[in-house]
Symmetry: C2
Subunit: 298 residues, 2 copies
């Protein structure tokens, strides 16, 4: 196994043929009818979520290179839910998937070190983690240290895909530079650490760059030429494959597009609603991978 996360991610993308990631956001209320009951106890809900996650992973492991479990949905079930989060991470890794833990943690000093130890260090945590950079480099460095040491990756939130992102991230200085561009420059600079740079020219310190703003993604690619972009917003959040293509470099590399609810709950929407839930997830995952592959690689 290559010991640089960026290289490993790019290899995994080549192997599967499409730069896509499926987000694992399990809400009990949205599980298929045959896994759900109105009177389920929290333990029964968690057991259904376990079965659902395992089935989703088995389906998508042959189609996509990367999955992204979202910690929040597991944390709803407190200690037992968090244990299932780690179980899901291990299961996905055992299936050969690259795993990005979506935790968006952000703190400083020994607290950030504790988060890095909990969520990124060692073999049975995700391959990479999303982090929040509002607290400055003090909040990023402890994650980068673990990433460099253990061959892991970090994705800093730069430009998020939600509607109110512009309220904060578009705040501009006198020269017209926006706050998210400032965070992008900081991320680019931190990522040039030689312990993070891989042999393919990308850094293991990447960036979250929402697909809902394609012009901005192109500008951010200029600011961050060596960052891998994790691109949310496709599908449920309204961005199409062409919007996502702006995040890639001129060789069609350097980014990975995520879809969560539009794939794992495909059985609740057209044109997949007439299929069984497993078939719906499989069909939508294939369509998603094909859609992005065509838009990016032509």
């Amino acid at each position: 196994m290559n010991d640089n996360f960026a290289d490993r991610l790019l290899e995994a993308i080549e192997e599967k043929g499409s730069p896509v990631c499926v987000g694992i956001d399990p809400s009990y209320e949205r599980l298929p009818d045959d896994l759900r009951s109105d009177s389920a106890s929290p333990d029964q809900q968690l057991s259904a979520i376990r079965q659902f996650c395992q089935t989703v992973l088995e389906i998508v492991a042959g189609i996509v290179p990367v999955v992204k479990p979202q910690s929040a949905y597991f944390e709803v079930y407190r200690g037992k839910g968090v244990s299932l989060y780690y179980e899901t991470v291990r299961l996905a890794k055992d299936m050969g998937l690259v795993v990005i833990g979506d935790t968006k943690r952000g703190d400083i000093g020994s607290t950030a070190e504790a988060y890095a130890k909990a969520h990124l260090a060692g073999p049975d945590t995700p391959d990479a983690l999303t982090v929040n950079g509002y607290l400055g480099t003090d909040g990023i460095d402890p994650f980068c240290e673990v990433a460099a040491r253990d061959g892991k990756g970090v994705f800093v939130l730069v430009r998020t895909s939600n509607q109110s992102a512009s309220q904060t991230q578009d705040f501009s200085d006198a020269a017209g530079q926006k706050f998210y561009q400032h965070i992008a420059r900081q991320t680019a600079s931190l990522g040039d650490n030689e312990g993070l740079l891989g042999q393919r020219g990308f850094s293991s310190l990447g960036a979250v760059v929402g697909a809902t703003y394609p012009q901005e993604a192109a500008e951010l690619r200029e600011i961050m030429p060596r960052q891998l972009f994790l691109v949310p917003g496709y599908g449920a959040q309204g961005a199409g494959a062409e919007d996502c293509a702006a995040a890639f470099d001129s060789n069609g590399a350097g980014a990975i597009v995520n879809a969560s609810r539009s794939v794992i709950y495909a059985y609740q929407r057209e044109p997949y609603g007439r299929l069984g839930w497993e078939e719906a997830i499989e069909a939508s995952a294939r369509d998603f991978a094909d859609d992005i592959q065509k838009a990016v690689l032509g």
Copy 2:
């Protein structure tokens, strides 16, 4: 029990006589010698942390109104650690303490709702939570909804106390307004929701404002007259009681000063090192409470 968090916090401060909070940041490596062994398994470490947290809570419950367990240190032990986090929260509440969960979570939409459900909803979660506002109001609203419904509080990270905070938070617009001031205005506006305002004129949507920048705290008090300030930075991070006093309003109200390591690990520093660890924690908690009370209330 008053059903508004801001009112409840102010009552608790009056009852104990000092606007202070002890942070519960349990690192196994820093526990007292008689609780620690070099060969301890993770379960044994967690058991020692349980005993340490319980003792710290028993000591400080008679001295301070508020405690702030830091989730990261519990997350190091994954599912079992998270279970202990909730156990610690419940224990502190049973002792009559107001509990602020320091999680700094930040996400959007249904994910933020999941975090709010996990960490703030219902009776057996903290009374209030720290959150990160980088993603805009989409990331704050779900926490405010739970706060208004369940009588809880939210503290948005506005100005953090760490050294590199200025790298991001001092980013300025053409009029000289800084990014953290922009977040402060947004927080002030969101906090004026009538479901959050208490009878004493403060909102249950508060702000984290580091004590290491007293001039800024005074300016932020102008921008956020109805926000309760949670003030980190005293002690281990270098701020003194006079620095902290700037966060309070002209009546000596509206803020709560936190100290974590300087109290819970007081046995590792002067002038407390010659005491037993329980006596050291008690003496430093009393000195901390007195120090802040004198600086704020004269």
